[in-house]
């Protein structure tokens, strides 16, 4: 009865990557490079973790050892209501709408404060309150510091004018509650991803964000919101494409990986669209069930045969209960699957951005090499024409350019190295993330089914009692 599995599992042991860069790049002899579409393919690189500081863990929900049935404990809880009044007294002169309406409490617990070399984490558990704009501000700072050197900075959640207006107006209804919850959950995921990154965790801006009781109001968060980031990345991509000199990719690894991420991007977007459709249809089903339940109840009332009338009323009750189940399931569909996929669509964009940065770096290096070449030619000319003072100037410029070229090469090698590490880490995290989320999602499906069995088993004797 069951479909046979056509499923590729990861390799039994992870291969350690040779990090030395050489012109041809190490070719990963992996079974799974030719199946980029398998979302569960294990990452084939193991990054050597040289930082002992990685011991600092911010504990939150699901730990790597999967413990089913425990819901993730909420790291971030929203605070609205009175906080929103004093925000409002400030008028904002930013181009962007100041999100005065919501602030969030972050609960942080550090697992081993003694082990950490960061003296800042003295306390085991503490909380801070942050505004939504603070999160955006943090992200924009991190992006400006780390993106151009090849680090995959997790993108911040999107702003939503429509949703925000509703909350500001103080509308205490279903949709505004949903909006706040959606935002809370998105911020939590964003923050978790950021602090899981070993380099970003050490960043002073991040530490300040986690620790200080008061943060200065973030200015011009418009600069690098997610949408802004996307625009920046796209502009960079366009610039790269417009370059007449195509980068000679001597490293097959990069070529492969870029293709891999292209494919992944397409796949994830498709999936995301399908899951959004699923959420919608399940909500529709729940509505239709509720309306059928009412109709069946009325039919039961109308029925003049007593036992049948009772059974029809019971049927109406069962359908109503199941409708509630379907609603909850739709939420699970959304929070587990849809949001996960949405996050990864944005993350892949950030990854692609980082590859583009590498190309820019390469281009810079090439440009300085070309300049050096020109200057050398000019120098030769000057020597031939015997112009001693201009010659010295030329020699100085050449010296400068030689250093620039060397720096450019170093930068390029560095960014390539960083990206390899980052991609390795990213892929590992991705697989873990998907695995744990899909399992949580399946658990919700399972729970729904178990409940449905209970409801129908309770109904069955009622149906049998009709005589």
């Amino acid at each position: 009865m069951f479909v046979l599995l056509c499923f590729q599992s990861g390799p039994a042991s992870l291969t350690t990557e040779d990090l030395s860069t050489n012109a041809n790049g190490p070719k990963q002899a992996s079974l799974f490079d030719d199946d980029p579409d398998d979302l569960f393919a294990e990452a084939t690189e193991e990054v050597s973790l040289d930082s002992p500081d990685r011991d600092v863990l911010l504990s939150d929900g699901p730990s790597p050892a999967i413990t089913p049935m425990t819901p993730p404990t909420s790291v971030i809880t929203p605070r609205i209501g009175h906080a929103h009044d004093d925000m409002f007294t400030h008028s904002s002169f930013d181009e962007v709408e100041e999100d005065g309406g919501d602030s969030f409490d972050i609960h942080i617990s550090v697992s081993d404060p003694e082990k950490t070399s960061m003296s800042l984490f003295k306390l085991r558990e503490f909380s801070v309150r942050r505004r939504f704009s603070d999160f955006l501000g943090l992200h924009s700072k991190l992006a400006s510091k780390y993106l151009h050197i090849g680090y995959i900075v997790p993108p911040a959640p999107e702003k939503s004018i429509v949703g925000m207006t509703k909350v500001k107006v103080g509308k205490e209804d279903q949709s505004s509650n949903e909006f706040v919850e959606k935002r809370r959950s998105a911020l939590e995921r964003y923050l978790m991803r950021t602090v899981k990154h070993p380099i970003l965790l050490k960043d002073p801006d991040v530490l300040q964000f986690l620790e200080s009781s008061e943060l200065p109001r973030a200015v011009s968060t418009q600069a690098l919101s997610s949408a802004g980031l996307l625009r920046m990345v796209n502009k960079a991509a366009d610039a790269v494409n417009k370059m007449t000199i195509k980068m000679n990719e001597s490293d097959a690894w990069f070529e492969e990986k870029q293709q891999h991420f292209e494919n992944l991007d397409v796949q994830l977007r498709k999936l995301h669209a399908s899951v959004e459709s699923l959420v919608l249809h399940r909500k529709e089903l729940s509505m239709n069930m509720a309306s059928f339940a009412k109709s069946a109840a009325m039919l039961g009332n109308s029925e003049d045969h007593t036992a049948l009338s009772r059974a029809l009323s019971q049927l109406a009750e069962v359908e109503e209960k199941i409708d509630q189940l379907q609603q909850d399931q739709a939420n699970a569909d959304f929070y587990f699957l849809s949001e996960l996929l949405g996050d990864y669509v944005r993350l892949i964009t950030a990854v692609k951005g980082v590859f583009d940065q590498r190309m820019k770096t390469w281009q810079k290096w090439q440009d300085s090499q070309m300049m050096l070449q020109k200057k050398r030619e000019a120098e030769a000319k000057l020597q031939f024409n015997n112009k001693p003072d201009k010659l010295q100037q030329a020699k100085d410029e050449i010296k400068e350019l030689e250093m620039k070229v060397q720096q450019g090469e170093r930068d390029f090698e560095q960014i390539s190295k960083t990206i390899r590490k980052e991609v390795g880490r990213f892929e590992k995290e991705r697989v873990k993330d998907f695995k744990s989320t899909v399992i949580q999602y399946l658990e919700t499906l399972l729970q729904t089914q178990q409940q449905m069995i209970k409801y129908w088993e309770a109904f069955l004797p009622e149906a049998k009692a009709i005589s």
């Binding site: 498709k270 699923l278 009325m298 089914q449 069955l460």
Partner: protein
């Protein structure tokens, strides 16, 4: 084939009817009607004829138009085979073929073919039940046209055309437009019929509403099943999601067979019962008018014998209808209760079964993902779980 809607009708060995076979040609369905009989009124003990949907409608309409059957509930006509839904989807699928992967296309096509098949099965069943209702009715099964329908080995289309010209569908149209008003307007003399009238009018509107809502539910289920197909196609993980979808899709069609079909069928059956009430109400109105005419005649001392005879005829007709109607409506109630019971039980059992299958699949998948590095271990768990279904 499961008889989803009515109780077992094909019990009497003297006349056994079924539709063992049907052919679908460009949305025109050709049914093979197979009869086995011990009755001498038929020429052969066993025979088959090809019939179209229009032939069934002809038979139904002639029965409705027959005066002698005015006191009977005429089994509702089977609805026209409707392949519009899957056909439209197939068309859309063809248009969108370029935008989807080969895998997705294949899966959706398979699903659509299953839908087609389900519609096909449903229409065969509904036509079969119509004939079996007739064969199990002590008066209707002796109808001459019914026999012709079963036996006549030529094309019925000529007869159909003649019938249309003869009756012109007059009675049917009248019933459609006036019944509610007339039934509710007539002053009822009999408690039984008073109650039946109230009950049937109310029940009809409720069941009509429930049928529509159940159909909407079924459509939502189908949409969800389609979403799972797309998800599984994109994931290339052919396992759980596909199985889930297969089960989800199957649920959509099983639920449709049980609940929606049940409601739909009885909605039509109740309409047929209402038609009976209407005819009786008509007869009562005629009787009351004949009384008035008689009084008038007596007053004028003119044409009294004719008026008396007319009044007698009306009374007889009315009494006959009432007597027959009472029997029909009582047995109708019994039939309805039994059918609901059977279908509700079967539906609940199917829901339980499917929920169990789905949870096993989900558990199995959870274990599998958790143990992706240890295939053998995962496979072992999966096997154990499968055996528990």
């Amino acid at each position: 084939p499961i008889r989803s809607v009515s109780v077992d009708l094909n019990n009497d060995a003297s006349l056994l009817i079924d539709i063992p076979d049907a052919l679908c040609e460009r949305d025109k369905v050709k049914f093979t009607v197979h009869t086995k009989t011990t009755l001498s009124s038929f020429q052969k003990p066993e025979f088959s004829v090809p019939r179209q949907h229009e032939d069934f409608i002809w038979l139904h309409d002639t029965l409705v138009e027959t005066e002698d059957y005015a006191g009977l509930i005429i089994p509702p006509a089977p609805p026209k085979p409707d392949f519009e839904g899957p056909r439209e989807k197939m068309h859309k699928l063809g248009e969108g073929e370029a935008t989807m992967t080969k895998e997705e296309y294949t899966k959706m096509k398979q699903e659509l073919e299953a839908e087609y098949l389900a519609v096909f099965k449903k229409t065969v069943q509904v036509h079969e039940i119509f004939l079996q209702r007739l064969s199990s009715h002590p008066i209707l099964n002796k109808d001459r046209n019914f026999q012709i329908f079963l036996e006549y080995d030529q094309d019925l289309s000529v007869r159909r055309k003649n019938a249309k010209e003869m009756f012109g569908g007059f009675f049917k149209n009248m019933v459609k437009s006036a019944d509610e008003v007339l039934i509710s307007g007539v002053k009822e003399v009999d408690d039984f019929f008073e109650q039946e009238k109230t009950f049937l009018l109310d029940y009809y509107s409720k069941i009509k509403d429930s049928t529509a809502k159940a159909e909407k539910m079924t459509r939502s289920h189908k949409n969800i099943a389609d979403d799972y197909i797309r998800i599984s196609a994109t994931l290339n993980i052919t396992m759980s999601f596909v199985s889930l979808q297969k089960v989800e899709g199957r649920v959509a069609s099983d639920q449709e067979l049980k609940l929606t079909e049940l409601l739909r069928y009885y909605m039509r059956d109740i309409q047929a019962a209402k038609d009976l009430l209407y005819r009786r109400a008509r007869a009562l109105a005629d009787y009351e008018n004949s009384n008035k005419a008689l009084d008038k005649a007596r007053l004028k001392s003119k044409d009294i014998p004719q008026a008396e005879e007319h009044q007698q005829q009306c009374l007889q007709k009315f009494d006959k209808l009432s007597e027959s109607g009472k029997k029909e409506l009582t047995s109708f109630k019994g039939r309805r209760v039994v059918a609901f019971r059977k279908n509700l039980i079967e539906m609940a059992e199917l829901e339980i079964k499917h929920a169990k299958v789905r949870s096993s699949i989900q558990l199995y998948y959870i274990c599998f993902i958790m143990c992706t590095n240890e295939l053998q271990y995962a496979w072992g768990i999966c096997k154990i779980l499968c055996e528990q279904i």
